[in-house]
């Protein structure tokens, strides 16, 4: 398991188009991806409904967890995910 941290900078927060793109990328990953606010339980990142319930706004920090030991693959996916929630 590899955990990485990022900050949302898209104005709408994690819903609508950013959440759709985020979940689609997580869905296509060869390992499970989970996400949550620091200190809160992680939810499945491939579920737009779960992402919505995080109520993550612009400026919030997110932890993204990758169920793999492949650092390179996790990094690559992390960059793609971050691109959907940053401007």
């Amino acid at each position: 398991m590899i955990i990485k941290e990022c900050v949302i900078t898209v104005k709408v927060g994690l819903h609508a188009r950013p959440a759709n793109e985020f979940s689609a990328i997580a869905k296509a990953a060869p390992f499970e991806v989970t996400v949550g606010k620091p200190g809160a339980p992680l939810v499945k990142a491939n579920s737009p409904l779960r992402l919505l319930t995080l109520k993550a706004h612009e400026g919030d920090t997110l932890n993204i967890a990758f169920a793999t030991d492949d650092e390179a693959a996790a990094n690559q996916l992390f960059e793609k995910l971050v691109a959907t929630i940053t401007e």
Partner: protein, 544 residues
């Protein structure tokens, strides 16, 4: 003859329309929760079929959605409907013995409860989740209460409120819309505006309208008129005034895309060429050459005459990814408009040179254009000087600024010799003058452009600019209201720039007034103490 009655709401569009009421069916309440008599396997199967069906419905509607905003709403709803987490949770409830509709409601209820108490955009998504449950259950029950639109005729759809799925089903027989709910920025208003369907939203009296009744929708007056005729609407009341052959002041067009530009080829120039719309989706800054190619395309497609290009107006409600504007508590009061040039100087320098090069290239093809450049969000003389210096260094000969921050209206005499022209942006000027957020429908009434304080401000701006020998135009939405454009002319404004769909109407009314008629309309409006009275007084003055 029955008495004419009116219902008040918020108008969307300007064209009045008379047609027959067709009530959009109200939603039936969902059936009570029930246990399954068929067993979990069949219930789960029914639900998954319903989801596949709904996904197909969404796919068709997303394809048909012409408007990007609407398409994104539908895509988000579709993603929720097909979320495997929803199906898994509903399956658990089926296994506990519930029938499919009940299991679905229980499953979605879990997500809804997690959103409870979330205000703003997250709280609003609950309506999307309800919509999905409703559509799925409707399919499972085999009943459809969807209103079927007649194949021919003209109808005004009346509803409590409409969802994007409803509005996208509208065919050409829908000529108007009245909703009890909604506001100036609701889904219904966005779709109606995009499709050119006149509407009155937030109309509390809509309940009283019945099928078959003939009503007039008059969005310009924000009214629904019962037992009236189009003559009662604001639509073409001015046709009694003779056409004098030419508009009293030039009517230019506001343009934000190549398509807009092509649509207004016959306008007397472009009073506002917005450049931010080209870059909203850019992740990286465009190069100077890329910018130049884009501007050249718009300039070539648009009308001849004066073309006023506004430098990038980013920030606040128009985020641009590549500029690096940070998170702000109050973005409308933060780094936006020309203020962004301080953090992204390279882009702004490139932009000025690209505009100049594009103008020269298009002029070289024989097109008779004169390209002017102005900056948005200027608050001080100092800022105006800095911008003017940079623009002139890039070879631009006619340099101006937007007047949209109240502070700059107090120092207009000092702009003499600094800038060549002024353009009043009434949308932002109202927002800052009335301390009323443009994107908050709860304060929309304060942003009515007929507000006496705004008219008084316009009058002062025009007088000060005339004294300083600087030409002043208005390019805000307010100039798309023909009557208000006449009042502006009467207040001393030198030109107006309207949205592409309003140029013809604004030109028409301005062609039916002379200086003294415009002045009397302006004087009548200025003597009123409310927005409503100001508009009525101006109209009264022209009908005298």
């Amino acid at each position: 003859m029955e008495t004419v009655r009116t219902l008040e709401g918020i108008g969307v569009g300007t064209r009045a329309v008379l047609a027959e009421v067709l009530r959009w069916s109200a939603r039936q309440p969902l059936a009570a929760m029930a246990k399954s008599s068929l067993g979990p396997e069949i219930e789960v199967n029914t639900l998954s079929k319903a989801i596949v069906n709904l996904e197909n419905q969404y796919a068709a509607k997303i394809k048909a959605a012409g408007n990007q905003e609407l398409r994104e709403i539908l895509e988000a709803q579709c993603a929720f409907a097909t979320d495997p987490e929803l199906a898994d949770l509903a399956k658990d409830f089926c296994e506990q013995g519930w029938d499919a509709p009940s299991a679905l409601q229980l499953a979605m209820g879990e997500f809804k409860s997690l959103l409870e108490g979330a205000g703003g955009e997250f709280g609003e998504r609950v309506a999307d989740l309800d919509e999905i449950v409703y559509r799925l259950i409707q399919w499972m029950s085999g009943e459809s209460d969807e209103t079927v639109l007649p194949a021919s005729g003209s109808f005004i759809i009346v509803a409590d409120d409409l969802t994007p799925m409803d509005t996208i089903a509208f065919t050409d027989v829908v000529v108007g819309v009245v909703t009890k709910g909604g506001g100036p920025t609701s889904h219904t208003a966005i779709v109606c505006r995009a499709r050119g369907i006149p509407a009155v939203v937030a109309c509390a009296g809509a309940d009283g309208l019945v099928n078959g009744q003939m009503v007039v929708i008059d969005p310009d007056a924000s009214q629904v008129i019962i037992n009236g005729s189009l003559a009662d609407s604001d639509g073409d009341w001015w046709s009694v005034r003779p056409n004098l052959g030419a508009a009293l002041i030039p009517v230019m067009a506001n343009v934000g895309s190549v398509a807009d530009a092509a649509q207004v080829k016959s306008a007397k120039g472009v009073g506002l060429l917005r450049t931010e719309l080209f870059f909203l989706n850019n992740k990286v800054a465009p190069t100077r050459a890329e910018q130049q190619a884009l501007y050249a395309q718009v300039l070539a497609a648009g009308p001849d005459g004066e073309i006023i290009v506004r430098t990038l107006d980013a920030g606040s409600d128009k985020p641009i990814a590549f500029l690096g504007i940070g998170r702000e508590e109050n973005p409308a009061l933060g780094v936006r408009g020309q203020r962004v040039a301080a953090i992204a100087p390279k882009f702004y320098e490139d932009q000025l040179h690209a505009i100049k090069a594009a103008a020269d290239a298009v002029k070289a093809t024989g097109k008779k254009i004169d390209v002017w450049v102005m900056a948005p969000m200027i608050a001080t003389i100092d800022e105006a000087q800095v911008f003017a210096k940079e623009a002139r260094a890039a070879g631009i000969t006619r340099v101006g600024i937007m007047v949209e921050i109240p502070a700059i209206t107090r120092v207009i005499p000092h702009l003499k010799g600094v800038v060549d022209f002024l353009s009043v942006g009434t949308n932002d000027l109202s927002q800052y003058l009335f301390a009323a957020d443009r994107v908050n429908s709860a304060v929309a009434a304060l942003l009515n452009p007929w507000q006496p304080a705004l008219l008084s401000t316009l009058e002062e701006i025009a007088a000060d600019a005339a004294m300083a020998g600087i030409k002043v135009g208005v390019c805000g939405e307010a100039a798309s209201d023909p009557l208000l454009a006449v009042v502006m002319a009467g207040l001393g404004i030198n030109s107006v720039s309207a949205s592409p769909s309003s140029v013809a109407a604004v030109t028409d009314l301005l062609s039916r007034v002379d200086v003294s008629a415009a002045k009397s309309a302006a004087m009548a409006a200025r003597s009123a103490t409310t927005a409503r009275d100001a508009k009525a007084a101006a109209k009264g003055a022209l009908l005298k």
